[in-house]
């Protein structure tokens, strides 16, 4: 069953622009130059119940704007959204009870009080009885490996402990749809792993649908089979992570070990030479020419060992996010 359905949504903002300097500031006071920014451009996708989908793209690609539209915080300029059978912008209580939005860089816990104070408020807001709230807090804190931290003021907690407490607060009402915006931002590797483990467990236990944005490719590769790649507001890829690798890299990586050295020139016609070190050679061969090239290699070269693999997805998407654009 479809949990999230998005049809041709777009979002444009009007922003004012100002050049630096006092003269420009004076001008800006009286005359504002405005510009329309198309943050999201005709996105279309569906997410099934229980799916964990990675939502990736470079900074400013439109990920957070899309998440804000999906949870009903902002109105789309055009198009339609259906989340758990609701139109998000109406923000009916029945809808708000089903969703949560966790933003890695923002917090909902009261800074100067222990997380338990905020949890008590959340329990009352979501209409949980004291007994039910206590049971859920125990259950989630066990899954998140939280203990006495819940009794300490939030400001005294480490970033990892704070993030786990934020997750607990955001999931106390047991939402079936989770929008996670950089949930592991700034966490050390151990905390990242713990948060990922928790999300997998929560997804399995409650059948929750998760849409996750992250710049840490570890989050995407370990949690999501399917990814949505967005670039300049447009959907570039919607499918399996493996398919994305093929799309981003029309090459395969071939590692060769020779029994005796062969001159470098003889490999040029087979593909791009990434590494040439006596008997060890690494080639990038276009997928369309892979069979022919391998046949040539095996028939004409003294091969001791040969390995064919895809370039690592982390590296491919990492490069993509770093460059901020997609070049095919």
């Amino acid at each position: 069953m479809t949990a999230i359905s998005v049809r041709s949504i777009s979002k444009s903002y009007q922003i004012s622009e100002k050049s630096p300097g006092i003269k420009a500031a004076l001008m800006h006071m009286f005359v504002r130059k405005t510009k329309n920014i198309l943050a999201v451009n005709k996105l279309d996708f569906d997410i099934e119940e229980g799916e964990i989908v990675g939502f990736i793209g470079s900074n400013g690609a439109g990920k957070t704007t899309t998440l804000k539209m999906l949870c009903g915080l902002i109105h789309p300029s055009s198009g339609s959204i259906n989340v758990a059978g609701h139109i998000p912008v109406l923000r009916q209580n029945s809808f708000l009870n089903k969703i949560t939005l966790v933003m890695g860089q923002k917090q909902q816990l009261i800074w100067d009080l222990p997380p338990l104070d905020s949890l008590r408020v959340n329990a009352a807001v979501y209409g949980l009885s004291n007994r039910e709230a206590k049971k859920r807090i125990e259950e989630l804190s066990t899954m998140l490996e939280l203990g006495n931290e819940l009794y300490r003021p939030v400001r005294k907690l480490s970033l990892g402990q704070r993030m786990k407490s934020e997750l607990l607060a955001a999931l106390l009402h047991r939402p079936s749809i989770l929008f996670l915006d950089e949930p592991t931002l700034g966490l050390d590797i151990n905390s990242q792993i713990r948060v990922r483990k928790f999300l997998v467990e929560y997804n399995k236990k409650f059948g929750a649908t998760i849409l996750l944005t992250s710049h840490y490719m570890g989050d995407i590769t370990s949690l999501c089979k399917r990814v949505l790649l967005i670039n300049e507001g447009k959907l570039f890829h919607d499918g399996m992570l493996l398919e994305l690798t093929e799309k981003l890299s029309p090459y395969r990586c071939v590692n060769i070990e020779l029994t005796s050295p062969i001159p470098r020139e003889q490999f040029i016609q087979l593909g791009n030479i990434v590494k040439y070190d006596q008997n060890l050679i690494e080639l990038l061969i276009p997928r369309s020419e892979l069979t022919n090239s391998l046949t040539t290699l095996l028939n004409n070269f003294p091969i001791k060992d040969l390995e064919v693999k895809d370039p690592p997805i982390e590296k491919l998407i990492g490069n993509l996010l770093e460059k901020g654009q997609i070049n095919l």
Partner: protein, 272 residues
């Protein structure tokens, strides 16, 4: 489920949320008790005005009795303490820093968070106000009075109603954040009519007739002068003043609701 059962369930839920919001905000305020004391002291303007009015000859020229003035300004001090509102500043901060977004995603109007934060702050300043009153009465023993129970209760109700109307007025102006991102400058602007038309710096009796008539068409005298005179035990038309206060409350609720709905359509989720 019958309508009565549903209503009773909703009331119970609201009371539970109110208590949870109040207790968490009260705990938070207690963390900052020194700051609360400073805020309470900063609300001393009516006591300063009392000193000025008692020692000046204007009160005699206006046939205003010194005891009458003393009670009025001490009452105004109490009313001011419990009708302090800073929702425009908080709302602006939350809007700019992205804290409004998680509030909007919970099944309760963010209005109540700000409202109970104010109520909690007022509770936390009770001991400080009592100490300040004690000092005032020690320095002016003749000024001491204590209203009878019925009078006290109705005065407390008037102060609470005045606070609600002032809160609703500021809440309405907070909505400007949806259009301009900032609203705190408007709070300063709102302070001017509040200071001069509410009876804070001078009782309405001291105003020229035209200004007094104008002031009575604004909500400000009902926010301060009315509850102060009621608490001071001075002659005032209680029913008429309560009715006008409630009418203002109703108008502000309707306007606040309208601009909230309109503003949300413009909300950009800034900083979040």
């Amino acid at each position: 489920m019958s309508r009565i059962n549903l209503m009773s369930k909703n009331i119970k839920r609201f009371l539970r949320i109110s208590f949870a919001l109040f207790s968490s905000q009260y705990s938070l305020m207690i963390e900052y008790r020194a700051e609360i004391a400073l805020w309470a002291i900063s609300g001393m303007l009516p006591l300063i005005m009392l000193g000025i009015w008692r020692e000046s000859g204007i009160s005699l020229a206006l046939s205003l009795n010194k005891d009458w003035l003393t009670r009025y300004f001490i009452s105004a001090f109490i009313v001011r303490q419990f009708t302090a509102v800073w929702v425009m500043v908080s709302f602006e901060e939350d809007n700019l820093e992205g804290r409004l977004s998680p509030y909007l995603l919970q099944p309760i109007m963010p209005f109540w968070r700000y409202f109970f934060s104010h109520i909690a702050e007022q509770f936390s300043r009770i001991p400080i106000v009592l100490i300040m009153l004690l000092l005032v009465f020690i320095s002016m023993p003749g000024a001491f009075w204590f209203p009878d129970f019925g009078h006290l209760m109705i005065s407390i109700f008037a102060i609470f109603s005045a606070f609600c109307v002032r809160f609703l007025l500021h809440w309405l102006f907070s909505m400007i954040c949806f259009w301009t991102d900032r609203a705190s400058a408007l709070e300063r602007l709102l302070l001017i009519p509040y200071l001069f038309l509410s009876g804070l710096v001078a009782p309405l009796e001291a105003f020229p007739d035209s200004i007094k008539t104008f002031a009575l068409f604004t909500p400000f005298p009902y926010i301060l002068s009315f509850p102060s005179r009621l608490l001071a035990g001075q002659e005032i038309n209680i029913i008429k003043n309560f009715l006008i206060l409630f009418l203002w409350g109703l108008v502000l609720i309707l306007l606040g609701h309208y601009f909230w709905k309109l503003g949300l359509k413009r909300y950009s989720g800034m900083g979040a």
